[in-house]
């Protein structure tokens, strides 16, 4: 059966068909549609596959490991920077190994379409010493996902499946199976110490992880997803990984490239094939999306006998995505006559939606800035990050999920006043809560504004773990009742809101202001559902 699917959807369907019992994830572009597809899938519902959003990537991955511990096949999904949040369990579960098949799906975002960096997850896979898979097209995203679960159970290790934006968010017809593999039965690990990483056990397990590396390499050498394609012209041998292969082939209309190609979709890097290319070709061109991961591994460190070129050597663009044109340049193909972009075209950056509650909040913050120039605002990750841009320019710093509260704390410790943290409701439960506890313990003079739109808005208005719980969470953490406030960010409330925020800025301790108004993008169905969730009251 052929179905039109996004790369993300093809991957999700592959997981369902491979006997998945549960997916755990926190939304993040470009990974979000994987979990959403499973949430909407009728078959997944019938098969009772767990698919509810997790509070953050770390809780997601740990839950997945628990499901694997119980013997079932499970998948955990996140964007590249999400893996930083889950890095603790990620690094340690490669030491413990898995029981039921466990696939870690990470979607990288080269060119930073919706991200703050373009980190390459393959380094994490190598760091954890586990197999990495990297599909090149939608069909492979489907097939490789099924294969990933088998590989995980075969090696006893979690497997990293790396996606990139252009594959995640591009559709194609995909041939899918009509049936699903049966889910694993619950079956506890046969080795009773495998999952207890106290040093005496961990040493043995780590030795095992090191010992099986040659086996993983052999797996990659024999993998059907690593193929050597012959070419007559040996002046260049090309290593093309993931979607780098597509961009390469796009340059040859008839589908034949004159140079030998090693197409890579499984790591560790297959040494035998790389060596063959190295020995038979005059030089090696590496085409890989993201960092120069392969190139760095196989090129001569001192550059004295270097015959490897790619992103590291700057023969291919070092930053940003690849595309057919950057690769044409590296291959010295004739330069095309291209029209330039007319001068009349102005930039059109993203902006907050008309009617969005964040707008009214930033208006209030900007009014207060006029009164007190020393005011510093620490932002966070979400739609409201757009408050760092024109016309608001309200935010002075924003780094990563949860940092608003803790950076405000550190700045306040250094003497900055007023120090304001602006954080979304979902980001707050993702990783802001612990920082708030830090500030409460020290009674640090900061004002935390939780801009609560009752959704994970930026990624498409998914349900927020914070909805209906924020006030109780803050009370539980120990925020003083007199300094826990709710405002409604509407233009007509502007003066009142500014007065309230001003008062809290002057308080020499922790204040939390929940600025509450649902996201304007929410569906009618969701808005109705919100009405049924008990409105929180302060007393």
């Amino acid at each position: 059966m052929k179905k039109l699917l996004l790369g993300n959807e093809a991957l999700a369907q592959g997981a369902i068909d491979a006997g998945l019992s549960g997916v755990y994830a926190y939304p993040g572009t470009p990974s979000t549609e994987i979990t959403e597809y499973i949430q909407k899938s009728k078959i997944a519902k019938e098969l009772n596959i767990h698919s509810q959003w997790s509070v953050n990537e770390k809780t997601a991955m740990e839950s997945a490991l628990g499901m694997s511990y119980a013997g079932k096949r499970t998948m955990v999904v996140m964007k590249h920077v999400g893996l930083n949040v889950a890095a603790d369990v990620f690094m340690n579960m490669s030491v413990s190994g898995i029981n039921g098949g466990l696939v870690v799906v990470v979607a990288d975002d080269p060119s930073m379409h919706s991200s703050q960096n373009e980190q390459d997850s393959r380094y994490y896979g190598k760091f954890a010493m586990i197999p990495i898979l990297e599909p090149s097209n939608q069909q492979e995203a489907y097939d490789i996902t099924k294969y990933a679960f088998d590989l995980s159970e075969e090696t006893g290790l979690p497997v990293l499946l790396r996606m990139v934006t252009r594959l995640s968010h591009s559709r194609a017809g995909v041939e899918i199976s009509e049936t699903q593999k049966a889910q694993n039965e619950v079956k506890l690990p046969t080795n009773s110490t495998q999952f207890s990483l106290i040093p005496s056990y961990a040493r043995g397990l780590y030795k095992h992880l090191v010992a099986i590396q040659p086996e993983l390499e052999k797996n990659a050498e024999n993998s059907i997803y690593n193929t050597l394609i012959n070419g007559e012209n040996k002046s260049i041998g090309i290593i093309a990984s993931g979607i780098g292969y597509n961009y390469l082939m796009e340059n040859y209309e008839d589908g034949t490239c004159p140079y030998p190609i090693l197409k890579i979709s499984q790591y560790p890097l297959p040494k035998k094939q790389v060596k063959y290319l190295f020995d038979t070709c005059e030089k090696i061109l590496v085409l890989e999306e993201g960092y120069p991961f392969i190139e760095e591994m196989i090129s001569d460190f001192l550059g004295e006998k270097r015959k490897v070129i790619g992103r590291l050597s700057l023969d291919v663009n070092r930053v940003g995505e690849l595309n057919p044109d950057t690769i044409a340049k590296a291959l010295n193909l004739p330069i095309k006559d291209i029209e330039s972009k007319p001068k009349v075209v102005a930039n059109r950056p993203p902006e907050l939606c008309v009617g969005c509650g964040h707008r009214d909040l930033f208006d209030a913050i900007n009014q207060l800035k006029k009164e007190t120039q020393s005011q510093q605002v620490f932002g966070d990750i979400g739609c409201y990050a757009l408050g760092a841009l024109e016309p608001y320019k309200s935010i002075n710093a924003l780094i990563e999920m949860g940092a608003s509260i803790t950076m405000a704390k550190g700045a306040a410790d250094a003497g900055i006043h007023p120090a304001i943290a602006v954080i979304g409701d979902s980001t707050f439960t993702h990783s802001g809560m612990t920082g708030l506890l830090n500030a409460v313990i020290e009674k640090t003079p900061i004002t935390v504004i939780i801009s609560d739109n009752s959704a994970i808005a930026m990624t498409g208005a998914q349900d927020s773990s914070a909805t209906g719980r924020l006030i109780n969470i803050c009370k539980g953490i120990g925020v003083e009742k007199d300094h826990l406030k709710i405002i409604t960010p509407l233009h007509k409330n502007m003066d009142e809101n500014v007065d309230l925020i001003r008062k809290e800025l002057n308080y020499q301790g922790v204040s939390v202001i929940v600025s509450q108004r649902p996201c304007v993008q929410l569906s009618k169905e969701k808005k109705d559902r919100l009405k049924h969730i008990k409105t929180e009251v302060l007393n």
Partner: protein, 194 residues
């Protein structure tokens, strides 16, 4: 035969509906298809685009190479021009005339139109008004699909079937309005394409 179609607009203007019509028609016609789109931050009122590639042979890249787009279809005139480096020599430009002015430095509209008109194969139509006159201003994008239909590698029948199946759940009236929008777009475009 490979046809590269670049869709342009501002986040929220519905270029993905155009993409969905083309995708559905291509798949029903047993053609190969790749269609990339933008999700996430850039969707919020920013410039968005989608690359649609249709072929009777397998397609490698999800992105259209520079200078290889057969046609650019845009829901907004300035956004059309943003992607000119992708246009093939003598490729087609199709756009709605109505500007979406959510930026302070939006250029003089005349300059935008002149730039478009300097290309021989352009279809510059007030699709929004056409859709409005038909009683459904949300069908602006389908007017543009109709206007582009004669140069797409897809049969009229497959496009109309795609429109029917995509709008079916919104009711018979919406389906009819969109079919009218398609036909009207097609009719008006003939004045440009002779």
């Amino acid at each position: 035969m490979k046809t590269n179609i670049l869709l342009a607009g501002v986040g929220g203007q519905g270029i993905l509906t155009i993409a969905a019509v083309l995708d559905t028609a291509a798949l029903a016609s047993n053609l190969y298809l790749k269609q990339s789109e933008i999700h996430g931050m850039s969707q919020r009122g920013g410039a968005v685009h989608s690359h649609v590639r249709i072929s009777d042979n397998s397609i490698y890249s999800d992105l259209i190479p520079l200078g290889k787009a057969d046609v650019i279809i845009s829901v907004e005139p300035m956004e059309l021009l943003r992607y000119l480096p992708y246009l093939k020599k003598d490729g087609y430009l199709i756009t709605d005339t109505n500007p979406f002015e959510n930026i302070a430095d939006y250029p003089e509209l005349e300059n935008v139109y002149n730039e478009i008109k300097s290309h021989p194969n352009h279809i510059l139509i007030d699709a929004k008004k056409i859709a409005k006159d038909l009683g459904n201003s949300r069908a602006t994008n389908i007017v543009l699909v109709g206007a582009a239909s004669s140069i797409l590698p897809l049969s009229e029948e497959s496009l109309l079937n795609a429109i029917k199946s995509l709008f079916k759940r919104k009711g018979e009236r919406i389906v009819e309005k969109n079919i009218e929008a398609f036909n009207k777009g097609k009719e008006i475009a003939t004045e440009f394409v002779s």
